[in-house]
């Protein structure tokens, strides 16, 4: 049986992690179908059909699918599931919210947040904030799997031409009503996919001081991250949080500024290719994962960092 990939999108276009989930799905079996549920989402459905790994697109449209409510999406996918061996989507807030609801209806034990496909029924996943890796074999007939997007490369996005098939909508779930979404718009790269991330912690001492980080991020074309402590203190909004209960990032360069390095934060960034830590406490645990550690007062180091960057002839973007 084929694999069913649940596409994440904003009704206009695919959200980037759909491409990572497609890669993971194609590693389970090459016969990948993708379902897209939305309102006026034809353009996103067309994008999905152009992914070479996707063999068929199922498009489901209704006005009550506009805001991706799990209660509305679930019956559609549960109905489709009879033709599929695996249901796959990203382990971001979209997939975390949706997949367990589907799994319970299918009476399946979900395998969450996998980082590797070992075989069609066996997967590797981090537990205890990434302090241990578990190899899990699922004995359920149907498998519900969410994938850690940063552990799978995005698939090719052009060259495919899968057929797009319309599927009937399911009934509306009337006990949940969408009110509003407050998205923080920014011209910077998305935190989850950025090549460079500059993150601030409690050591930043205020939201205003984050401008020291913003300047450097703009110069490097980087995304801005934060520790939970910085978000809790109100220095920066929750969508910037990196860690066990925030986002997992794997950039080429991660610069941790004024972050002590609690295991919950390390869980979200320690797979980064190069890690820099700037902290005045030489004993801070963040130094144990840093390739380059600078023991310094960040209020002196960050302006100097900016100066040094300005001296460079070229900066990779």
């Amino acid at each position: 049986m084929a694999i069913l990939l649940i596409a994440e999108h904003n009704n206009k276009e695919l959200r980037p992690f759909t491409l990572n989930a497609a890669t993971a799905a194609s590693q389970i079996d090459s016969d990948v179908h993708a379902v897209i549920i939305g309102q006026n989402s034809a353009d996103a459905a067309k994008q999905l059909s152009e992914l070479p790994v996707v063999k068929k697109v199922l498009s489901v449209e209704a006005d009550y699918y506009e805001n991706f409510t799990a209660e509305n999406f679930t019956p559609v996918i549960v109905k489709l599931a009879e033709n599929y061996s695996h249901i796959v989507c990203s382990a971001n807030t979209f997939g975390k919210n949706l997949m367990p609801r589907i799994a319970a209806h299918l009476d399946t034990s979900q395998v969450s947040d996998i980082i590797k496909v070992i075989s069609p029924d066996t997967f590797l996943r981090p537990i205890y904030a990434g302090n241990a890796f578990a190899t899990i074999k699922s004995n359920d007939a149907k498998k519900c799997v969410t994938i850690r997007p940063t552990s799978f490369d995005p698939c090719e996005s052009t060259g495919g031409s899968a057929p797009i098939e319309k599927v009937d909508a399911s009934e509306e779930f009337s006990n949940t009503k969408f009110i509003k979404r407050e998205e923080i718009k920014s011209d910077r790269p998305e935190l989850g996919t950025a090549r460079i991330v500059v993150s601030g912690g409690r050591g930043m001492q205020s939201g205003d001081n984050f401008k020291l980080i913003t300047e450097i991020a703009d110069k490097l074309g980087a995304a801005i991250g934060a520790s939970r402590a910085a978000v809790d203190a109100g220095y920066i909004s929750n969508d910037h949080q990196v860690g066990q209960t925030g986002k997992v990032v794997v950039p080429d360069l991660y610069i941790a500024v004024g972050i002590s390095g609690a295991i919950q934060h390390l869980a979200g960034m320690k797979e980064s290719k190069v890690i820099v830590a700037i902290n005045k406490d030489g004993e801070a645990p963040i130094f144990s994962v840093a390739d380059y550690g600078l023991e310094a007062d960040l209020f002196e180091a960050l302006p100097q960092f900016m100066e040094e960057l300005n001296k460079l002839n070229t900066i990779q973007k």
Binding site: A70, E71, A91, N92, T93, F94, K96, N97, P100, R101, A103, A104, S109, Q110, V111, S112, I127, Y128, A129, N131, A132, F133, T135, I136, K137, S138, N139, D140, T176, F178, I179, K180, R181, E182, E183, I184, I196, L220, R228, D232, S237, N238, D239, T245, D252, I263, Q264, K270, K273, I275, F287, A290, D291, G293, L294, E295, A296, Q304, L309, Q316
Partner: protein, 249 residues
Amino acid sequence: MKILVAVKRVIDYNVQIRVKEDGTGVVTDNVKMSTNPPDDNAIEEAVKIKEAGKATEVVAVTVGEEKAQETVRKALAVGADRGIHVKVEGTLEPLAVSKILQKIVDKEKPDLVFMGKQAIDDDCNQTGQMLSALLNWPQATFASKIDVKDNKLEVTREIDEGLETIEINVPAIVTCDLRLNEPRYASLPNIMKAKKKPIEEIAASDLGVDVSPRLEQLKVEEPPKRKAGIKVANVAELVQKLKNEAKVI
């Protein structure tokens, strides 16, 4: 309104996790255990709603072995009225836990069920959503703000893009984020009082639920270690290393 809050006993968040040498799991003997952190937020929120006069009773429930009862006792010490301990041996998968909780919901008939959004041991992030599926109730996951309005809740959810607000009709499930509130500490008199509050013990086997595992944990291993890095003397050296050695800027 009656609120049921589910709590789980996990290895304390401050403990450095050690993987067992035989690859069967992580070391739990002589390790400090605590309530799963966002479950504390769930209890706190329920107690606050009761203190605001919008709930009549807060019931704490846990599913676990003998010592899991400590988490219920702690919930009683910070304001829950009574407890339920569903006793099982070993660890259950979230699907099995949600089936047990469904039975407790059938019996207790709460208007709301709160729990943490994720347990910090298995990091599954499933139980709340599964329970709401089994009950066909609305779900508000990753809640950072809850407003109780008659028979509705307005909930702000933390999502990857920022914040989302939804309105759900009661009965409903809410899974709580760490930013929902600041859990209080239990005072000594309240700890003493909590010892007198009732905890009902139920054997999971009496609930008629199939809790047999569907997943096999074949191996637990240490993640690959990062090799030790270096300390640089100053910012100029750092930028030179990033440019010329790591070649990342």
